[in-house]
């Protein structure tokens, strides 16, 4: 893979990451926040794949497999937490879960 395509892939990864970040910051619904985090993770995975392809190294793909596994685990824990929050607060608004203020 040549350098120009790698640049474009990294640019796409950056845009995806920033989009995910912004939606984590502005969304109040916890499920949407979780999805945004997934987008950020996939952006990071894309960056790894692109970089691995650019240098002809397998490391990028290995890292992506790791990220995929980690994301699966994270989603399961995250969904369990969301269920609990909904059970307790009867809402999915993350700002309602501000009991732990100082």
């Amino acid at each position: 893979m040549n350098a120009a395509i790698a640049d474009q892939a990294l640019m796409l990864a950056g845009i995806l990451f920033v989009l995910g970040l912004i939606s984590v910051l502005i969304r109040r619904n916890i499920i949407f926040m979780l999805i945004s985090v997934e987008i950020m993770l996939n952006a990071a995975g894309l960056a790894f794949i692109a970089a691995g392809a650019r240098w002809g190294q397998p490391d990028g793909q290995v890292m992506f497999v790791f990220i995929l596994t980690m994301a699966a685990a994270e989603v399961s824990v995250g969904l369990a937490l969301i269920l609990q929050i909904y059970h307790q607060l009867k809402t999915l608004d993350s700002d309602a879960a501000d009991k732990m203020h100082g």
Binding site: L25, S94, D95, G102
Partner: protein, 629 residues
């Protein structure tokens, strides 16, 4: 005998422990008296056994270790005792006179609620005082030194329900503390210079280390003198002793006359090797003694309270001892200490009997005529007074004081002022002593006698009276008798006095004139207070200002109040809310403020936290990009 030495300070200590633990409620009075007197009595018997052993064989147990406190590597710190003839004399006086005073106290304190507490303190005092004089190192001596200070405080304030007694106790404690601080600094300097605080090591090392008159030994000696001055109530720290009379009479006899107040004399006599290296400091010892004996004598002339007269006379007599130390007459000072312990304990005990008989009346002008009512007390008090006034030939006090007066003329280190002070002091002593005798025992009876002293009071008085009469004969001057039993004891422990050339021929002139001066003083007191009491009133009226000045102890109390106490109280008032505290409270306020500020950021809203993480990440990445080239 070496094996028994450690028992001497330990026995009274055990007695004190038993009495403190059992308290007032758990032991009957009889058991308390047996424990209290028995422990000191046993120590006295042991001392006498050691003395007899010494007198017959010439052997003395020199050094003995009670316990090894700790030993690390090649440093071992033992609690060790050292006995030589100097400490033997002190131990004898402490245990023997102490025992008599304990016996006297059984009757004197019989109606007091805190009977056991009294004996516990007295035993603790005797133990600490023995530790002081027997200690092998200056650290152990300092332990005893502070121990007797503590007991003095406890016993002056024994009747603590009255506020003024507590005040007197605190005053004594704080003023002696000034001296103790000087002493402690002196000990630190000694240790820094010589690397040891064992007395024997110091006395051998010091002459190798320092030239005579160099600055270090002079400084150390002056600091030690500071400690001695505080403990022995000498000028300028003498103000605590007259107030210390707030304690019971046996306490005044034991602590504030016979033993504790002479600890300063012991310290200087013990450190004689240092003072020989520091002639300037030794001169100051003499100057302090001379000033003290005069100002205290003048104050004694004007007092009304029987016990205060005795207190001022104690200060004055210890002034004589300091004068003797200052002119290098070491053994004379110790001799006068011993005789003084006998007659001053006697006088205080007799005064206690008088005061008890007259419903706790202290004012001599309200006494009188007791000669016929209390003949035994009168006879013993008269003997004690004769000894204090140094009545020629028949009293022990004459032989000890005469020796000091003679040596203040003849010694190489003396000067004419010391001699004049000693002679004038002797004259004043005769007047105030017999003023006291005539006011108390002659004239008309003004207060009725309520309580006749019993056997336990009169017998110690008689024993002490015998000693106050005859103890002087173990040391007679060259002009007649020439007995030197007492000074021979010190041939190895204390340096001899060096006389000026060609003075021996004057000795009898000085003895006769001081003897005559004493008689004139007694005659004057008799004339003023018995034959023509009106003249005494006239003199009193014409010199009312001086009288008041002397009565108030030369206004030293007011002086110290004005220059020390008042400024300190002023600063304490100004600085009531300690300004150094402000620094720390500001620190507390600052951290509380910061905590409030930062706890706002913990608002529980998840998106703010994410924002924080993002901002942090951005800042870190930016910095990394800037720093890496």
């Amino acid at each position: 005998m070496k094996d028994f030495l450690w028992l001497i300070p330990t026995l009274p200590f055990l007695g004190a422990c038993i009495l403190i633990i059992s308290g007032n409620a758990n032991l009957p009075r009889r058991a308390v008296s047996i424990v209290g007197c028995g422990s000191v009595g046993a120590a006295a018997i042991l001392t006498i056994v050691i003395m007899i052993d010494f007198l017959t064989t010439g052997q003395i147990p020199e050094y003995t270790v009670i316990v090894n406190w700790f030993s690390v590597d090649n440093l071992s710190v033992p609690i060790a005792l050292h006995l030589d003839t100097l400490s033997l004399v002190f131990v004898f006086v402490i245990t023997f006179v102490g025992f008599l005073i304990h016996v006297y106290s059984i009757e004197f304190m019989h109606h007091d609620e805190s009977f056991a507490r009294f004996f516990a303190y007295l035993n603790l005092f005797v133990s600490a005082m023995l530790m002081l004089v027997l200690a092998d190192s200056l650290i152990l001596m300092y332990l005893g030194w502070e121990g007797v200070g503590l007991c003095s405080y406890l016993l002056i304030g024994f009747w603590y329900e009255e506020e003024k007694n507590g005040y007197a106790a605190r005053k004594a404690f704080i003023i002696t503390r000034i001296g103790d601080t000087a002493l402690a600094v002196g000990l630190f300097m000694l240790f820094a210079e010589l690397g040891t605080l064992r007395i024997q090591d110091i006395l051998t090392l010091a002459p190798q280390q320092w030239a005579t008159g160099s600055t270090t030994p002079v400084t150390i000696c002056l600091l030690l003198l500071g400690g001695a001055v505080g403990k022995s109530a000498q000028f300028p720290l003498q103000t605590w002793l007259p107030d210390a009379m707030a304690g019971p009479s046996p306490v005044s006899a034991l602590i504030h006359a016979a033993t504790m107040v002479t600890a300063g004399v012991y310290l200087i006599a013990r450190m004689n090797g240092l003072y020989v290296l520091a002639p300037q400091a030794q001169l100051w010892v003499g100057i302090v003694g001379a000033i003290t004996l005069l100002i205290a004598g003048c104050s004694a002339l004007t007092q009304y309270d029987l016990k205060r007269v005795l207190a001022y006379s104690t200060i004055s007599q210890i002034g004589y001892m300091f004068l003797a130390l200052g002119i290098g007459a070491w053994s004379s000072a110790v001799f006068h200490f011993m005789i003084h312990a006998f007659f001053k304990a006697l006088l205080f005990l007799a005064a206690g009997a008088v005061i008890m008989a007259l419903h706790h009346e202290h004012d001599m002008f309200k006494m009188g005529g007791l000669r016929k009512q209390m003949p035994a007390v009168f006879a013993t008090f008269l003997i004690g007074s004769a000894s204090l006034a140094a009545l020629p030939l028949i009293s022990a006090g004459f032989y000890s004081k005469d020796q000091i007066i003679w040596l203040s003329f003849a010694s190489q280190q003396s000067n004419i002022w010391f001699f004049l002070a000693a002679v004038v002091g002797a004259f004043i002593t005769a007047i105030y002593t017999f003023r006291m005798v005539f006011l108390t025992f002659y004239g008309e009876a003004k207060t009725s006698v309520s309580h006749m002293p019993g056997n336990l009071i009169t017998q110690p008085l008689v024993i002490l009276a015998v000693l106050a009469l005859f103890a002087g004969f173990i040391e007679l001057p060259h002009t007649f008798g020439h007995v030197t039993l007492f000074s021979d004891l010190f041939s190895t422990t204390l340096p001899p006095v060096t006389l000026r050339p060609n003075v021996e021929s004057h000795e009898w002139i000085i003895q006769t004139s001081t003897g005559l001066l004493t008689l004139v003083g007694i005659a004057m007191a008799y004339y003023f207070y018995v034959i023509q009491p009106k003249i005494a009133d006239d003199i009193h009226a014409s010199t009312i200002e001086t009288h008041r000045f002397w009565y108030a102890g030369w206004r030293f109390d007011s002086l110290y109040d004005a220059i020390i106490v008042k400024p300190i109280l002023f600063f304490a008032r100004v600085n009531k809310h300690d300004f150094i505290d402000k620094l720390y409270s500001a620190l507390v306020e600052l951290s509380e403020m910061m905590s409030a500020l930062f706890s706002r950021s913990q608002n529980g809203i998840l998106r703010w936290y994410i924002m924080g993480i993002v901002a942090g990440a951005v800042i870190i990445i930016t910095f990394t990009l800037i720093i890496t080239p």
